[in-house]
Symmetry: C2
Subunit: 203 residues, 2 copies
């Protein structure tokens, strides 16, 4: 229904509303939101109207109400069990990252093909052999998989996740992977953030 | 001069051009770029006109020429020495991440306050005590710092980086840090990508 760029703007609005809500702000206008996020007020109004949210003319939007609508629409009012594949450096950093838990994304199982890792645990979560992926996904009703394996293994891991019934994948490996149309793939690539820095330094 | 959202679109255009360039495409129109990236053709034309790039009417843009203009504008035709602070899980994953080197970002020194880590090395790069930051930044003419330390230490590390002359910071720690106006701060937060997944699954 919506392209990713619109959805990522919903996330931006939610983060902004949470921030001003904590500062005790009760109402915000589309121009205030636009100014803070480098957008135009018409763009903000159009985006929010998709969600049936229309601010009171001249007054604005109720911060708490709009934030809770965005949370519902982004599916953040639930707890999402997640499986992590790759118990290496990145996997360890993702496992202990507080940003996931805070938004209801809970890593319930970790998989690795290294026999020295399978059978151990991080905190209270077991690291299992990759062959136990299908049974765990069924047992814990998991829809989201995170890929933190080297480039050469990423497509194979994606195929195993899809084969086990996962419907959404967060891919940290730097290569293009293919998934069927009914599976949502989101790549994470920090080079865009880095390029914003080299741009700034080249001015 | 440009808000970050415009610069991050320049990165998107570059990535797209590199991809189609490899597939042998010689010319692209603004509509083709817009369609591939979920943007509108007028938005693409406006962005590229900022760079003095105007496609030939009805014919489009030369892929190789436009890509090399974008590389120059994003500062990617140089090598950027980078310091990494925090030799933990995330630091290790960032150090071995091929995506950095491919775009000319080279980690030249790693810092950590843990006495057991300072004095060791990863590949051919030394892990130094955080007190050696100022001399290293001067010696290797470093402008970019990456923060991969726990939340409680992030602001202190940012202050040390700024105090040593760094002008751009990539922050992975999940808290808001303050830097002076002449320093560019870019936070990395994968929750927006995760929220795109929970959005998709809630439809
Ligand atoms: N997007 C980013 O910002 C970013 C940053 C850092 C690293 N990375 C990427 O993340 C990935 C992991 O990096 P790392 O530093 O943690 O590597 P690592 O070598 O420390 O860890 C990789 C783990 O994957 C396991 N593995 C390999 N093949 C597997 C398979 N078929 N099934 C299950 N497990 C398998 C290995 O046993 C190992 O434990 C790499 O692709 C790297 O390029 C991305
Ligand atoms: N944005 C993201 O996607 C993302 C993902 C994973 C982790 N993180 C964040 O990255 C950070 C690092 O995570 P980690 O898993 O690598 O943690 P870690 O504990 O494995 O590593 C942290 C390292 O920082 C060092 N350190 C602490 N205080 C320091 C100081 N004042 N100066 C220098 N070094 C210092 C420690 O000695 C340790 O080696 C955390 O803030 C975490 O929340 C972000």
């Amino acid at each position: 229904r919506f392209p990713d760029r619109v959805v990522s703007r919903f996330s931006l609005y939610l983060r902004y509303l949470k921030q001003v809500g904590q500062e005790g702000v009760y109402l915000v206008t589309s121009s205030q939101i636009a100014q803070a996020l480098h957008l135009t007020a018409p763009q903000v109004r159009r985006d929010l109207s998709y969600l049936g949210q229309f601010g009171l003319a001249g007054v604005g939007y109720n911060v708490k109400k709009l934030a809770s609508t965005l949370e519902k629409v982004l599916g953040l009012n639930k707890e999402w069990p997640v499986v992590l594949v790759g118990a290496g450096n990145l996997g360890a950093a993702l496992f202990s990252y507080s940003g996931f838990r805070r938004r209801g994304f809970k890593i319930v199982a970790i998989f690795d093909k290294d026999p020295k890792k399978a059978g151990t645990r991080w905190a209270n979560v077991a690291i299992l052999d990759i062959d136990r992926l299908p049974e765990t996904i069924k047992q814990k009703d998991v829809k989201i998989g995170v890929i933190a394996v080297p480039q050469y293994a990423a497509q194979e891991v994606a195929d195993r996740l899809v084969g086990s019934g996962v419907k959404a994948i967060l891919n940290f490996s730097p290569c293009k992977i293919e998934v069927p149309d009914d599976v949502k793939l989101q790549d994470v690539d920090v080079t865009t953030e880095l390029e914003t820095l080299s741009w700034f330094l080249s001015q």
